[in-house]
């Protein structure tokens, strides 16, 4: 069925010496050995020819298939869509394509990696070619390539990329956002609030006497405290709040659409919850407190960096006033 003459140069004498029968035998064997499904339809979309690849993959009886409408032989095909596509091939005399990226498969065929991949059917790239013969009507050749491997590896790659993207945003120890992602978020939230004239507040908080804790109980205890405090604070936040680890024992929370009163309430709640939290390490009760600085976005705030500075100053004031408390930037003389 392959036109072997078309594949070779016409003045190649050794090929020309082959008889028509031999050429036909070669063609038949090639078409039956290639790992691509070949299906030929007439202009009414009845199957006139198929190759061994399809025969073994569909496990259908050749005697019933030939002459049958493709939509009866393969009832899984989307008839209206495919008819329109095939009409384009006939009418425009142009090839048409269907990629696994848009449609995983057209024909429900099994594939050879049933165990090592999770796709039920063979992923396919299909090509529809117009075929001109001596026959009055045109034919269409459908080539069906098995791209299950490509599809599988692409899936793995996407998954890995998503994991990497997630990892690059997360602080390994506390599993909350890292400094970089937190700051990127602040840049966005700042711009959003400015554009839509919405409230925005910032809380910066720092564990009190963290160095002492590390010195007395060891760094593993310090790590445990960071993890527990992060989890506790996370449980007090709304989904839209953006919580990140700013530095060693310093944390920061972006509160979109929140005014000073709302931010102060939350800061107080965090302060009290942590002071009461029953933290234990090796059977010993660990007393942890935090100091918090709150800064709301005001008309005078000229940049997101300034918002951080204000929250930081309020945090230092909370520390200076004896720790385990909340200070707001608005109570302070403007720096």
């Amino acid at each position: 069925m392959l036109d072997f003459n078309a594949l070779t140069s016409e003045n190649n004498t050794s090929i020309q010496a082959l008889s028509g029968t031999v050429l036909k035998q070669i063609n038949t064997q090639i078409s039956n050995q290639i790992n691509t499904g070949v299906l030929v339809l007439d202009a009414e979309f009845n199957i006139v020819l198929w190759n061994r690849f399809l025969q073994v993959h569909t496990d259908k009886d050749a005697a019933n298939i030939i002459g049958q409408s493709i939509f009866i032989a393969f009832p899984e095909l989307p008839e209206r869509w495919l008819s329109r596509k095939l009409s384009a091939v006939l009418q425009l005399n142009t090839p048409s394509f269907c990629s696994w990226q848009q449609r995983h498969h057209l024909f429900e065929l099994p594939h050879t990696r049933q165990i090592t991949t999770d796709s039920e059917f063979m992923a396919q790239n299909c090509t529809f070619l117009p075929i001109d013969t001596d026959c009055e009507h045109k034919h269409i050749c459908i080539l069906i390539e098995d791209v299950t491997d490509v599809c599988h590896y692409q899936g793995q790659l996407q998954k890995t990329l998503a994991e990497l993207a997630q990892m690059s945003r997360i602080d390994g120890l506390t599993q909350i956002y890292n400094r970089r992602h937190w700051q990127d978020s602040l840049v966005q939230e700042y711009a959003k609030s400015r554009r839509h004239s919405k409230n925005l507040s910032l809380i910066m908080l720092d564990l009190d006497h963290f160095k002492l804790l590390n010195d007395n109980y060891g760094h593993q205890c310090g790590d445990m405290v960071l993890i527990e405090i992060s989890a506790l604070i996370s449980s007090l936040l709304r989904v839209e709040d953006i919580f990140g680890r700013y530095g060693g024992e310093e944390f920061a929370i972006i509160l979109p659409e929140t005014n000073l009163t709302g931010a102060m309430e939350l800061a107080q709640r965090i302060c009290h919850s942590i002071a009461k939290a029953p933290l234990q390490y090796n059977g010993q009760v660990i007393k942890v407190t935090v100091s918090l600085g709150v800064a709301p976005l005001s008309k005078q705030t000229s940049s997101y960096e300034e918002l951080i500075t204000h929250a930081d100053l309020a945090l230092y004031q909370a520390k200076a006033q004896g720790r385990n408390q909340v200070c707001s930037a608005t109570n302070m003389a403007t720096a």
Binding site: P78, R80, W81, R84, K85, A88, Q91, L92, N93, T94, P95, S96, F97, S99, Q101, Q102, R103, N125, T127
Partner: protein
């Protein structure tokens, strides 16, 4: 003027071949799509790889670009890039005669691109006694960053390309798209040979 530039005669000849091909292609498309397809007179220019990068990345509101390679006898080959604007591609499925739930937006773009590219190039190939084969069309991922990346990769292979710009409009469906055929420098030499042969026959 390098060996890759077209002479005035060659340029005129190519322009004429493309005009004829466009006429026939738009007639075929109009029959198939059952609506009038309007094509502007195409422009042909030789373009430096670096300039191409600039012109294409300047198209701000380009929503999608579909790429399809083509290749024929006598070393005629290149890549067709079809670019779409957000506002001009809302009704492609409708234009193609599909129901809205039958195919995704991506598939609509790929489908119409392939139809426009292959219809035009088939007719063009016939004009020069050639026959084209095509790669499967690919939607280039997230245009804004990747188009220039994609082109940067291409520039490793050539410095100069023949750029043929064709604009398709289907006013009934407010459809508009720009087709750019890029023919890299080695293929330009081959196309020049073909053009010279046609010119000699006149």
């Amino acid at each position: 003027m390098s060996e890759f530039h077209l002479t005035e005669d060659q340029q005129d000849c190519l322009q004429e071949l493309i005009n004829i091909a466009m006429g026939q292609a738009s007639d075929q498309l109009a029959r198939y799509l059952d609506t009038f397809v309007y094509l502007k007179v195409p422009s042909i220019e030789s373009i430096d790889a670096k300039d191409l990068l600039q012109t294409l990345s300047q198209q701000q509101n380009t929503m999608a670009v579909v790429s399809q390679g083509f290749f024929g006898y006598e070393g005629i080959r290149g890549e067709a890039l079809l670019s779409y604007q957000e506002e001009d591609s809302g009704r492609i499925g409708d234009l193609l005669g599909y129901e809205p739930d039958e195919l995704s937006q991506d598939e609509q773009l790929i489908d119409i691109s392939s139809i426009l590219t292959t219809t035009f190039l088939n007719v063009f190939a016939r004009q020069i006694d050639n026959q084209m084969s095509y790669n499967a069309p690919k939607l280039l991922p997230s245009v804004q960053n990747c188009l220039s990346e994609h082109l940067q990769e291409m520039t490793f292979n050539w410095d100069l390309a023949l750029k043929i710009n064709i604009n398709y409009q289907v006013t009934d469906y407010s459809f508009n798209c720009n087709m750019i055929l890029l023919i890299p420098e080695t293929a330009i030499i081959n196309i020049k040979k073909v053009l010279d042969r046609i010119l000699a026959e006149f």
